[in-house]
Subunit: 241 residues, 2 copies
DNA sequence: GCAAAAGTGTTATATGTACACCCATGA
DNA sequence: TCATGGGTGTACATATAACACTTTTGC
């Protein structure tokens, strides 16, 4: 790292891929992965949909910028936020304006996302049926989805989609939606319980047409243990990490 | 991502953590992880050791910049190159000059590293015994080492330290050096052979004081299968990825 | 009682690990 | 022939997956 006080050679932006689960009525109530996009109102790619984001301000940290633009476009607070990748190829934008984008990916609670603000230029799309995107954002979303999949398998991030208390069936539904396949309820229960990811409460969900399931809460005394030796950064909009 | 033609809010730099294995005579010929550092010749942190790198030039891709600065400081070509993380906290540098560093990590062949150019301001250090580093480079190196460890366990990058042909014992030595523990030769052999990572040649290493071991080569018909859906980028200094 | 989901138990298979043992060479 | 690392075989422990079975509620 050198610190010449020259003009930077590229514009630095921060974008975020925001994930929530949404029960699509057409698919029979099974939740699916959705994400919000913003419509570009200027060239290049005017009119196309793109990831929310913006230029990095001089005084804010990278994760802060990601959480702020996330909040600006959706009014939401990320429950999970992690850096994805820095995209900076010279060919990713039409000639003239080179942009290096540091991209984050985030999870937001699905019930909050349901009543999230949407405007003329902000809309939610199912992740497997996106419109044509600006720049290389198609590639970025695919990469973020891949990270979401792989991380769901070995990490404990699923609860970020849910509320304070949840049943194991709800947690399993999250896994199934993200992984795109059914999981054995019995084995899922044992795996989750053995991991210590959740703690049983003494409450039960009532009003079901069958045996009432026990409610669990996230065990925050164990950390996610996969972000590496990077210091646990508390981002300014609350939530974890 | 927006494309306002404002002045960028931070200087953008690219740095690289470069790893090679070196047989330390003091430790009884067991190879260890070493990395090259450059001495800073100006404030801040003048005189301290730091990661090789430099500002991003307007016309070059990120990976190209990493490979170029790697070549500038060591004269070497990376055999493996991967983006590590973008470090951009406002607190990582003394007030005044904010720098966002996109850090790569690289593997170079150990025999090439042995005869790599070193100057007054470039020196190799063992990874577990580094001098005080400038900025947050201590943290960056620790993170890179963690990534090297974890990636060595599930990926097939060890051959990047070796030459064209190698014995399974040599490959095992690489794993042992990086992981810092001994591995069962029998089980290591079976695991590697089952993974398809290497192909047996019909050549044998002669001149050993015991049974001559078979030579293997890397199986490049199988890709590393862990970089996600990111397009395979051929960097300009040759080598793979 | 019946349907449906919660929750428990059992078994088969795959994977990982430890270690005994034979093989082929230089000295 | 002996020492040494190369290479093979095998048994044991643990993890994963498949699925039968019991429990508890609303209707």
């Amino acid at each position: 790292m050198t610190t010449e006080h020259t003009r930077a050679s590229a514009i630095l932006a921060v974008s975020t891929v925001i994930f929530a689960l949404r029960k699509d009525d057409e698919t029979g109530g099974l939740p699916q992965v959705w994400l919000p996009l913003v419509r570009r109102i200027r060239e290049p790619f005017e009119g196309r949909w793109a990831l929310p984001g913006g230029p990095l301000r001089g005084e804010e940290d990278l994760a802060y910028a990601a959480a702020r633009t996330l909040n600006d476009t959706t009014g939401l607070t990320p429950r999970y936020l992690e850096q994805l990748y820095a995209f900076g190829d010279t060919s990713r934008s039409p000639a003239g304006d080179r942009v290096v984008s540091i991209v984050y990916w985030a999870l937001v609670r699905s019930d909050e996302a349901e009543r999230a603000s949407v405007g003329e230029n902000v809309r939610w799309f199912p992740a497997d049926d996106l419109p044509p995107l600006a720049f290389d954002h198609q590639l970025i979303v695919e990469y973020a989805l891949w990270r979401l999949h792989t991380k769901m398998e070995y990490s404990r991030i699923a609860h970020a989609f849910l509320g304070e208390r949840f049943t194991l069936a709800q947690l399993r539904e999250v896994h199934e939606a993200v992984l795109g396949r059914a999981l054995d309820p019995a084995n899922f229960r044992r795996t989750i319980e053995a991991s210590g990811a959740v703690v049983a409460t003494d409450e039960y969900l009532t009003g079901t047409p069958h045996r009432p399931p026990r409610l669990y809460r996230y065990n925050d005394s164990i950390d996610l243990a996969d972000a590496g030796p990077l210091p646990r950064q508390q981002h300014p909009f609350g939530g974890e990490k």
